[in-house]
Symmetry: C2
Subunit: 606 residues, 2 copies
């Protein structure tokens, strides 16, 4: 408990909850890092695909990047409409549920859940890659560094929203500034010195040379689509903004998209211009930073900034995942513990589950960004498409002010993201996207199984309107004793403080011992009758259960209370020196109807 | 439970216990296999030491074997006296406790416990070696075969004494017969053909050649002392014999010693005569059986017999260890659960613990007999010496009929085993015997720690003679509810069936919800007052604990009963879909004085 308090801080009152709202500056830091940080790996993933067709094919990175820029534009405009339409938070699940029905909503939910986990794993892997690019001796420790980072973020998030916001705001702006400086300087240099020679491509790529097919270009586009992941984050978290929530969120969205577009296009342009290609042990951004600033202090600043930004991107999933889980839990699709606030007004369960699965993924894929990328983005684009399609349906049914214009905007959004989804799914399917489809299907089965269970529970505990509460029944109170000591006297004291037909039960294992107990009982029994039962099997538990069963058969309608005098040792390990009779008794009685067990603890002090 | 019944059979009545007594034929099978089976490895261990000084030194195996034969004789005579003097079972612990005091008794107990574990591990390792000598392809699977054998014996023993006796009697006699046939035939052949050439010794031993020193011969003697381990088993288990117990036990002892002496000397003689030496992958006995019978069916019969005998030797420890544990438990030196009979009138806990530690040892020493031997025998000889010394002291103090003669017998026993103990301890100390001394010391610390704890408990729960049982107190009964459903109605029904000041507590998390619950309560509350408590921290648990604390402070003398309506899912995995409130509440209330928690389970059926 002390450790928990120290790590996650004191609990907050409900009244403090509204103070947890975020200013635009803080919200940009928390919600935009996910989208903006993608620039650290998106260009590199495009180049990694194109290089398969040789160094000449790398020129296609510019048109591919422009196509992705178009996606950013479309998503920005269409998501602004969702922000205004769903001020209570318009995640894909909510939009799909209210406009398309349950199955599309669950598909969106499953896809988003998986992508939250992937966001954490990919961002942490890329963040660690940024660090190991700058400090190569850390390269063998990628996995451990990744796991430590996730642990760090989990603890930070368990401390609560505002504090993690504060903690993360400075590094976000620091990273954006560092990357922007690099892009600005690098782009200016590239125009001042247009004839810079491309760096020689890494050898060995010619072995696996493929033709520059349309499929390859589409694959490059699909890989680059990881750049726009995280753009939906603001629309999910509108309620976290200060009033006017929608307006502040929409403004933040514009800022986020602008920064993303600028950095992504700048990096793609620089990579093309300087002929930088992906290396296994150094990221493209690291190479660009070295070219721009040399290997001095500013280079390290850019790398550290990039790493921090990626860590914060992982952090943004820790706001989204528990939020989505709690919405699903309220609808009965997730365990209802997920719906409740934790100590720090955050959804502790969701944070811990997300941290666990992201760590698992990181270990399975050995902390390698490129290995994780084929699984990524597909979930996000499925949910993009579902929410845009949902908005289209909404305008058609709801109509309202300027509905035709809004319909066109979301229509373009739906078609564009739909095409992108098909491209991503078809080009990545064999490289791992099938895993995502399988997992989404499994999640949907799980969601529905959970809801079916809760419905069954609700039906079973429901009270019928015309029934009456039962009349009071008999209650036979049984105190099983093995001897007479302070613990037993305490249990008798407890039993006598309430009503019921109280009796102590002694199992007769040893005649002499039984006689001794009977004598002591006369003094200490407090008037409670002592019943001695035989023990043909030498089993105290068995004889006791037989007696209880007899009582139940004599009066099936009565309650039976078993009051167990239990000695609780002062130290936990001393438990192995004591019979776990109470535990065994409880296990034996658990499925007997109307038999209730009460431990009366007697605490030892040494 | 079904699995347990199927594996270990139905429970037996106490009246059946006396039928569990063993006839001499059965007792010889159960108790002698430990001692007799040692012939499978004792000669080999002697040869393994002597060969270090070259093949000529192997001739010393005969005098060494004769010295061990003398030990067998001395032990037989002196243990017969113990059997008659301690008809209730005269293990070294009991003899030392009643004649020498607590510390010698605990040393004996610790040494014996360790040797029981070693008996299982060594016997199983040697049994598997007998098998893999005959079927070499099983050699790489030694460890797995050993572990499976231990598991098999554990299950057999959990089935009860007599049944395992039946099960084991046939193979014991079968094995003794097979080995006796081999020794007879082999010895006759050796005398008919006295000039047989020794087989060439294995190469490579000359590299590590040592001089034939007295130390080496003593080391060979110490290694061979493993032959007499298990001779004390009968004296521990006199009570398991049919009446007249002591006489039957003494007769069985003679038979056992005779068989042991015959087989051991025969094998040693044959090994010397045929010049058989130890090989890593084939035992000496296996080589002798091949020489005597060729590699046909009779050879395999001898090997299987040897293996079964060794498995049964391991089995005999499963009778001794739980027995010793229960005696120690009754004296307060072991957890008192060990003192109680299990379902099948055997000491289930001890059986399981012995199986676990023997398996552990087998895994640590990779199932290799030779690696385990240095740890072995030392414990047995310490206990031999202590019990013989105890008997000497007994005769001096008690005197009685023919006491001087008895004193001489046990005196010779004490001196002989004492010298053997010193030889074993000094020659094996660096090879692993130090581990045994360390473990004995640790066990003694544990024994005493356990007794100290029980004494402290007894003092704490003791009733003072002049005190009176307390007068009945108030009992405030609190039913925490979150809504009104059948589970809550059931808890109210239970609470109303006994007395006390009953009240339901609703933590006010949501005003509307609270109002709804209050309306429903009017219909279903059965007259129990509903108290709504505020929830400033949104923590239902916290508010509830605050309320309970308030009540305690208002009347520190009263009992507080918390009756928790608990929904129990139909399937165990559904538990993760339900709040573990009762569990958390219990954990929070565990250390509050005079607060008692009662779950009222509501069983779901689907």
């Amino acid at each position: 408990m002390f450790v928990k308090r120290w790590l996650v801080g004191d609990p907050l009152k409900t009244a403090q909850a509204s103070h947890e709202r975020l200013s635009k500056t803080l919200a940009l830091a928390i919600f935009s890092s996910n989208a903006i940080s993608s620039v650290a790996y998106a260009t590199e993933e495009i180049l990694l695909v194109l290089i398969l067709a040789g160094t000449a094919a790398v020129a296609w990175s510019i048109p591919v990047s422009l196509a992705i820029l178009f996606l950013v534009l479309v998503l920005t405009i269409s998501y602004r409409q969702i922000i205004y339409e769903y001020p209570e938070g318009g995640g894909a699940y909510i939009v799909a549920r209210s406009n398309l029905g349950e199955l599309p909503a669950l598909i969106a939910a499953g896809a988003l859940m998986i992508d939250y986990v992937l966001t954490v794993a990919v961002s942490i892997a890329a963040g660690v890659a940024a660090l190991t690019s700058a400090i190569p001796i850390l390269f063998p420790h990628r996995e451990a560094l990744g796991l430590l980072s996730i642990l760090f973020i989990v603890v930070m998030n368990l401390r609560g929203v505002r504090e993690s916001g504060k903690f993360f705001a400075f590094p976000t702006y620091f990273a954006i500034g560092a990357l922007a400086l690099m892009v600005l300087l690098g782009t200016i240099q590239s125009f001042m010195n247009p004839g810079a020679m491309p760096i020689a491509p890494p050898t060995g790529t010619s072995d696996t040379m493929e033709g520059l097919t349309l499929f390859l270009i589409l694959r490059a586009f699909a890989a680059g689509c990881s750049a726009v992941t995280g753009m939906e984050v603001i629309s999910n978290g509108v309620t976290a903004f200060r009033a006017p929530e929608s307006r502040n969120a929409a403004t933040t969205m514009i800022w986020m998209s602008g920064i993303l577009a600028f950095l992504f296009m700048g990096i793609s342009w620089m990579a093309f211009h300087y002929g930088v290609l992906a290396k296994p042990d150094e990221t493209v951004v690291s190479q660009l930073a070295r070219l721009t600033f040399g290997s001095g202090i500013i280079y390290y600043t850019v790398q550290i900034g990039t790493m921090l930004l990626l860590v914060l991107a992982a952090n943004s999933a820790f706001a989204g995942f528990p939020h989505l889980s709690s919405i699903l839990a309220r609808d009965g699709f997730m365990p209802h513990q997920m719906a409740t606030f934790g100590d720090r007004l955050v959804f502790s369960n969701g944070i811990i589950i997300l941290g666990f699965f992201a760590s698992l993924l990181l270990v399975v894929f050995e902390g390698d960004t490129h290995a994780l990328i084929p699984l990524y983005a597909i979930g996000v684009f499925v949910s993009f498409t579902l929410s845009q399609a949902g908005m289209v349906r909404r305008w058609i049914i709801k109509k309202g002010l300027h509905w035709r214009g809004k319909l066109v905007v979301n229509g373009i959004g739906a078609v564009t993201t739909g095409i992108a989804t098909i491209i991503i799914a078809s080009t990545k399917f064999m490289h791992g996207a099938w895993i995502v489809f399988l997992l989404v299907a499994l999640l949907i089965v799980m969601f529905r199984g959970i809801r079916t269970h809760y419905k069954a529970v609700a039906e079973q505990v429901a009270l019928t309107r015309d029934a009456r509460p039962p009349r009071p029944r008999r209650n036979i109170v049984i105190i099983p004793i093995g001897g007479v000591n302070r613990s037993v006297v305490r249990a008798v004291d407890y039993a006598r403080s309430r009503g019921g037909e109280i009796r102590a039960i002694l199992v007769d294992v040893d005649k002499e011992e039984t006689a001794l107990v009977e004598i002591k009982w006369a003094q200490w029994g407090g008037g409670v009758p002592l019943i001695v039962v035989p023990s043909p099997y030498r089993s105290i538990l068995g004889s006791l259960l037989d007696y209880i069963e007899d009582q139940r058969q004599q009066d099936p309608d009565c309650w039976i209370t078993v009051v167990v005098p239990e000695i609780l040792p002062a130290r936990w390990w001393q438990n192995i020196l004591h019979n776990q009779r109470a535990l065994m008794l409880k296990a034996s009685l658990l499925f007997k109807d109307r038999v209730v067990l009460t431990d009366v603890p007697f605490h030892l002090t040494r």
